[in-house]
Symmetry: C2
Subunit: 192 residues, 2 copies
């Protein structure tokens, strides 16, 4: 998606360790008009009429998932990290190793809000190795729900998570795939 690539090129920063910082518009300060454009773009790639729920992971996926869910007219559900006193009873759980935070955490959703009858579109802002994404997929499967597709704003293509999903047969779309990011700048993969 040209609009997103241009924005990353203009405002993204590459930090040591292949970290790509897009926190001025995507995952710290958030440009909600950009998110609207991303949501419209996802709608070209998935059959939105089938979707009953948009699922994401806290925290940085929530903004994009909210805008998507609002446009598609379905609820947004975010998987929480760890257990708070506010969640009673039955929980679907998955264990995730976070590449960003270099530690394991548990992702949970309540049985109450994810059902076998749901048709789920997973949305996230960023994907690298895909560990958090696998955690979300596991939650959908644990509930016996149907996974209709996975949409990611920015994929770090060189870290393999996206290619594993493409090979899996799950409908998958990343709006910008970064192939290389270093002191020479950012190179995007050609659109699939």
């Amino acid at each position: 998606m040209q609009l997103l690539q241009d924005r990353i090129r203009r405002e993204g920063k590459v930090l040591p360790g292949n970290i790509i910082k897009v926190d001025g518009f995507l995952n710290h300060r958030v440009d909600t008009k950009l998110l609207e454009a991303l949501a419209d773009e996802f709608a070209k790639h998935f059959d939105i009429s089938k979707i009953t729920l948009v699922l994401t992971a806290e925290a940085s996926g929530i903004a994009l998932a909210t805008v998507c869910a609002n446009k598609y007219g379905v609820p947004m559900l975010f998987a929480k990290k760890a257990k708070s006193d506010n969640i009673e009873g039955g929980l679907y759980q998955s264990e995730v190793f976070s590449y960003t935070y270099k530690k394991k955490f548990t992702m949970i959703v309540s049985h109450e809000w994810l059902h076998a009858s749901d048709h789920v579109l997973i949305i996230d802002d960023f994907m690298a190795k895909g560990n958090a994404m696998q955690g979300l997929i596991d939650l959908v499967h644990a509930a016996g729900a149907t996974l209709e597709g996975i949409g990611v704003a920015v994929e770090k293509g060189f870290q393999g998570g996206g290619d594993a999903l493409r090979a899996s047969g799950i409908p998958y779309k990343a709006l910008a795939v970064i192939e290389q990011a270093d002191e020479n700048g950012i190179i995007f993969r050609e659109e699939d």
Copy 2:
């Protein structure tokens, strides 16, 4: 706000320890159409034309703050918990004791995205004692920005955070103030 009170009455649950669970529409599974109505209601109570930024705290404030920022045509900034490898350089920090999680955490925003020239509306989904809210206020003050107001969807009135804000003189609006919540049900405070 009648719409929100009705929703809480219909779908909210009271758990032991005065915990009010609204996770079917506000802070786990999220009804984005309801959030739109809340954003419109806040716009009646604050001078939105002055606002340059909506600030919230991760994670559960993000959905509501996103919808508000999108309606008001300004960016949304969410304070993060703890430090990730993705945030470089200067940070405004505040220490917060979470009533929900029974532990201390550090809230951060990057110097890059909160400026002395900003006019900030703080938005959060829930407030009890107001500890996280005070953390957000501290971040605004640390940046030398102007705090234009604070909007909260659900206030637990019996825990004092809201009344402290009312006494402080900061423009403040809670859309539903719960005065009492126990096995007999939920009682709301009359609108101010």
